[in-house]
């Protein structure tokens, strides 16, 4: 079963610019699970897009070279037909679903390929059974968690019964548990003999499942590893290749120096918030001190974001108090003092250039301008200062969002999943900046399920479950954090 993919001398560039892919040669055997990894911009996504046909059809550019599917040139198959042979799962659970209900979504491919009504129903039921989502068929997709949505994405591809699956960072927006469940589904596809190509940063959930790991950089495949080899990769190698640590137990951890207790900046006292029947915050109490970087961990839906929004003054608490520098505060006062940076960066960028982004909203004075330029330099964004914020990469946008918080002198900064989708290098850059900010006296709360990131910069962790704090501890032992974050 499965199909062979043969890539020969594949090159691609977006409209004459730098080559995204440079003479790639690759052979994928039937039933193999291949992982494409590497720093952002290395060409992983581009390669998946050439295979599923989005390049050059949807993303224009110059393509040369050949891809063969079971010996036949793939270019002979029009893009709209490729879905029969190649199933796809994309990164964002908010924007890859066409229908509003689960059943309709799973049926989408079948409908498009002209299956009869009876066959559509058959295939939909079959796919739902195999992916084990028969109980949510009538549910509205917008009401499902991201983890469930990605299951629906696989089911939708599965219903057309392709032999090859191509996935582009499918776990980027998923929490730890959902990521492992997704991995199990990939395992299931492998057992059925399907060929799977996954472009990914996070490798830990594919250990033991993938056959080969191909590291790309600057449009070329630079290294190839087996499962064993990648587990035992040295830290130097990981850095060199710009990867995330594959086996999280091997994370090189430098214990943070235990800080002397500094000034208490904020204190939450018995904070409570309910949304209808769901308790998002149940008597949350903890304090934050100047210079601390606190990781807020816990599985999705347990109220982490809610606590952030309560602190920032975006939602009103049902009961309890939030004290800043010892004084109880009202919601309105906290806006601007507690700076909440949401996960989606596109919704919070308003300017037409980096400078404008930092200056807009208040009068432009020479002092503010100087400060803005200084911040941009500190964040390492001087080289892109004239660009429009919407054209920045994920890592750059994250740093820009931090820059805005700095412009407004927010003493407390809360970041919601700042590293989802970031490669190793960018994650380290963000981590470095956060540490600098902490040294300057800010308190930083990081809501995250990225263990590597938490270990890179956080000194303390608070675990939230069902709206309650279950653990509040200093990070000393990486294994402890990995366990509490459901990685082990």
């Amino acid at each position: 079963m499965g199909k062979t993919i043969n890539v020969k001398m594949l090159s691609f560039s977006y409209n004459g610019n730098v080559n995204q892919l440079k003479k790639i040669n690759l052979k994928v055997n039937p039933g193999e699970v291949i992982v494409l990894t590497g720093p952002s911009g290395s060409g992983k996504s581009s390669l998946t897009r050439v295979i599923n046909g989005l390049i050059p059809y949807f993303y224009n550019g110059e393509l040369s070279g050949e891809i063969e599917l079971d010996g036949k040139p793939i270019s002979a198959i029009p893009t709209y037909e490729r879905g029969r042979y190649i199933g796809n799962v994309f990164q964002d659970p908010r924007s890859q679903f066409f229908a509003n209900e689960v059943a309709g979504e799973i049926a989408f491919g079948c409908e498009n390929y002209g299956y009869s009504h009876d066959r559509i129903c058959e295939q939909v039921e079959f796919a739902a059974k195999m992916i084990q989502i028969t109980d949510i068929m009538d549910f509205n997709l917008h009401a499902l968690s991201y983890g469930m949505r990605q299951k629906v994405a696989i089911a939708s591809a599965y219903a057309v019964a392709p032999e090859v699956y191509v996935m582009d960072e499918p776990s980027a927006n998923l929490d730890t548990k959902s990521t492992f469940i997704f991995g199990e589904l990939v395992q299931k596809l492998k057992r059925e003999g399907k060929t799977v190509m996954i472009a990914e940063h996070r490798l830990h959930y594919l250990l033991g499942i993938a056959d080969r790991y191909l590291c790309m950089d600057d449009g070329e495949i630079v290294r190839e590893f087996t499962d064993n080899e990648i587990r035992t990769l040295s830290d130097d190698m990981i850095q060199l290749l710009g990867l995330r640590t594959p086996d999280l137990r091997n994370i090189v951890y430098f214990a943070q120096a235990v800080q002397k207790k500094k000034k208490k900046v904020f204190e939450l006292v018995d904070l409570c918030k309910k949304f209808g029947k769901i308790t998002a915050a149940d008597k949350i109490s903890f304090s934050g001190y100047s210079g601390e970087i606190i990781a807020i961990i816990g599985s999705n839906g347990t109220g982490k974001s809610t606590i952030g929004k309560l602190m920032a003054g975006l939602i009103k608490e049902d009961s309890g108090q939030i004290l800043l520098y010892g004084k109880p505060t009202k919601k309105k006062y906290r806006l601007g003092q507690v700076w909440y940076i949401p996960q989606d960066l596109d919704s919070q960028l308003f300017g037409e250039s980096l400078l404008d982004e930092l200056l807009t909203g208040k009068k432009e004075t020479p002092e503010r301008k100087t400060k803005a330029l200084q911040i941009i330099q500190q964040l390492g964004l001087t080289n892109v200062i004239k660009q429009h914020p919407a054209t920045l990469s994920g890592g750059q946008k994250q740093r820009l969002a931090l820059g805005v918080a700095l412009m407004y002198n927010a003493p407390i900064i809360i970041m919601d999943e700042p590293t989802s989708g970031l490669d190793g290098r960018n994650m380290k850059k963000v981590s470095k900046i956060i540490k600098e900010l902490a040294d300057e006296g800010h308190v930083i709360l990081v809501i995250t399920h990225d263990a590597e990131f938490a270990l890179a910069c956080c000194g303390r962790a608070i675990q939230i479950q069902n709206g309650k704090i279950v653990h509040d501890f200093l990070i000393k032992d990486p294994i402890e954090i990995l366990q509490k974050m459901d990685y082990l």
Partner: protein, 205 residues
């Protein structure tokens, strides 16, 4: 070497449909907000809502127009709004909106017209003025029909003073169209600025 932008002769592709749908939804959302705010003051609603909707919606229209640059956009846009009217109580206006769209398309005949600010201003202005008439006429009919209905039910003419005479007159109809046109053109100017500053600069259009 001169770069010639050729208007694609192709029909609406899937990407064009998605872009148009997304922007039209934003436009509809804005329209609903304006409608809800102005409805309690019927004079405001009657004479200004179309213009305000034309002002705020212009930027969304410009984004689609510049991105896809294909004929048929205003026809589709107008027809969709006609269909929305269909389930809001004015089903009989659908043919009017289709014709309005066709008229707007006539204005946009020519190469690359959907990327030219002046053409867009005229096309969108005519469309907005047409929207005003499309709101005003059924509204008048609604009020007249209610008056007649109330008379038949036993109200007397004196008690039936509903300010209707204040609000209805051919002169005011022309005034309303002019207001709508002006607001729409201003909207295009504002939208054009946003387009240049953001969307064209970022390359999404």
């Amino acid at each position: 070497m001169e770069k010639i932008v050729v208007m694609t002769k192709a029909k609406f592709g899937i990407r064009d449909i998605m872009t148009a749908a997304a922007m039209i939804v934003l436009c509809v959302a804005v329209n609903m907000i304006i409608g809800t705010i102005t409805l309690p003051v019927p004079i405001l609603y009657l004479y200004f809502s179309a213009g305000m909707e034309g002002f705020l919606g212009a930027v969304f229209y410009l984004v689609v127009a510049n991105r896809i640059n294909k004929h048929g956009l205003l026809l589709i846009w107008s027809t969709i709004f006609g269909l929305i009217q269909l389930i809001s109580g004015y089903a009989f206006m659908l043919p009017y909106f289709v014709l309005l769209g066709a008229l707007a398309e006539l204005i946009m005949i020519g190469e690359n017209s959907y990327r030219k600010p002046v053409r867009n201003a005229i096309g969108w202005g005519v469309y907005t003025a047409g929207m005003f008439i499309g709101i005003a006429v059924p509204l008048w009919w609604a009020w007249d029909s209610y008056s007649e209905m109330a008379l038949n039910s036993g109200f007397t003419v004196q008690t039936l003073d509903m300010q209707l005479n204040m609000v209805k007159s051919p002169g005011l109809m022309i005034l309303g169209s002019v207001i709508s046109l002006v607001l729409a053109v201003l909207g295009i100017m504002f939208g054009q600025r946003l387009l240049r500053k953001h969307f064209q600069k970022a390359g999404v259009v």
